[in-house]
């Protein structure tokens, strides 16, 4: 009948969460960009057999920007990739992307929701400054509510501090 059990604990409890290490962190090659096949079948195939967005040798196959804790700065490591996507959008006016900002689980859910928005907005700004059109980009936040990696450890957290670039139709 009652699924909630109230347990009285007198005195100050040191309620330490156990820090389990979880090896089952998702591989970055799966996840947000798993919506299309490795052969790029969802999009037109070029002469190489790969669509440029899916060619593993193309920078456009990289779709995620990762962040430091509580930061929305796009590190220099990711700028060439973001700019490459912006140039692709510039050259393909019909292409559209959704930028999904995500955060790790630590801290306030509402602040993380706003932080995820800032991350997505930050990527959008770089893209529009690099030739993409405003109308091609929608920046949204999932906050900490849709983690890609589970677990309370830095490996999972760094995996979840992320903006994903998703092309519509993939």
């Amino acid at each position: 009948m009652k699924t909630i059990a109230g347990i009285l604990i007198i005195g100050l409890l040191s309620a330490c969460a156990s820090q389990t290490t979880q090896p089952d962190v998702e591989d970055r090659s799966t996840g947000a960009d798993s919506g299309y096949g490795a052969d790029g079948s969802a999009l037109d195939s070029g002469g190489t057999g790969f669509h440029p967005l899916n060619d593993p040798n193309s920078i456009l196959s990289q779709r995620s920007v990762f962040y430091d804790f509580d930061s929305y700065t796009v590190n220099h490591d990711y700028r060439p990739m973001v700019i490459a996507h912006a140039q692709y959008l510039r050259d393909n006016p019909n292409a559209q992307v959704i930028l999904q900002g995500n955060t790790d689980e630590r801290g306030s859910r509402e602040y993380n929701l706003a932080l995820g928005q800032r991350r997505a907005d930050g990527v959008k700004n770089i893209m529009t400054l690099s030739g993409a059109r405003e109308s091609q980009i929608e920046a949204v936040s999932l906050g900490e509510e849709k983690p890609r990696a589970y677990g309370s450890n830095e490996s999972a957290w760094s995996e979840n501090r992320r903006t994903d670039i998703l092309y519509r139709g993939e």
């Binding site: 009285l8 309620a15 969460a17 509580d70 801290g107 306030s108 859910r109 509402e110 929701l113 800032r118």
Partner: protein, 432 residues
Amino acid sequence: MSTHSRTQFYCLLTVLLWLVCTPLHARLNIEIFGGGTERIPIAIVPFADENRLQQRVTDVVAADLQRSGLFRLIDPTGLSPYAPAEVVYSDWTNRGASALVIGRTILMPGGQVEIQFRLMDVAKQAQLTGLATVVPITQLRAAAHRIADIIYEALTGEVGVFSTRIAYVLKQGNKYALQIADSDGYNEHSIIEYTEPIISPTWSPDGSQIAYVSFENKKPVVYVQTIATRQRKAVANFAGSNSAPAWSPDGKTLAVVLSLHGGSQIYLINADGSGLRRLTRSSGIDTEPNFSPDGRHIIFTSDRGGSPQIYRIPVSATESTTAERLTFEGNYNVSPDFSHDGKSFAFIHRHQGRFTVAVQDIATRQVQILTNSQFDESPSFAPNGRMILHATEIGGRGILSAVSRDGQTRQHLSVQTGDIREPAWGPLLKQK
């Protein structure tokens, strides 16, 4: 002594209230404040014939009082007075009890129970307060919470909150439920369930509605739902993200956070979704608004200074108004919640890598850290300011915890399977 009257109303019915010689805020000869380390020794004698009921009233009363951290239960074994004439006060003095609760239950026709209870001052050998009430047999827990509130108020001079309710989000697998329960976690039930996240529930000041954020439309939208009818309305569903609802004390206005005009900024909107106007104007994140009890100010989280800190702004702010920064210790202070008297606020403070519950006094800016947890979130003051309910994590699972304002007492609420988070303590409701 008591008048028996049948009632068909599905509510508590007070038949007779007798107070003898003492005002409502009568105190025993004990001082419990000043650290909260001294607890009132109280003996609660099982009421006559309550073993015949499906729920022993005194079990609930005792659990409530013990959970508050202000009482020490004295074992009544071997003594069973039910009326004042049957009390041998020296027995209770010998056991160290300062207060004594006695009473009886009487099964009545039509599924009703009459409960009579008296609170006795052992030193004065006199009754402090008492109550006789007739309730449906399904409402025994509610009646017991009310008795606990009466005892608490008589002995501490503070309002009891055992009859209040809490709201929280339960996550089981990929399902999310917004649930309501009594303050002790019983009588829980879902008011809405989804396969997409629900966050930030908050009670309307009259306790009839809850505002919350749902991701059911693939983005955050603010809804207001009436609890009794389950009717709901999207009150903030603008382009971009809509989140962090907070009620004004008069229930007429909601503060919400929108990314409508870029960034995350605080707006005010009428509770019916009309009359949107912008409150904050920063280039950073402004979120987690919370009204002061007098309705004149909003405290909120902002990273306008480079790290998330708590700020205060008048509700009447214009474009030229500057928000006042309130927190200065550390570089991560979020999720502010005003106390009932507006003199302090609870918040989450990152300290040595831990996210802990802290309280700051508005006037002196003195900060007290109350917990030593790893991942505390969402502090919510009890409506009497005595406890702070918050989310935390133990063994990788989300649970609720309540810590006393002085940090001395804690209590945990957990579920068998699943995580609970995003707690909100409901308001005090006026007795009908």
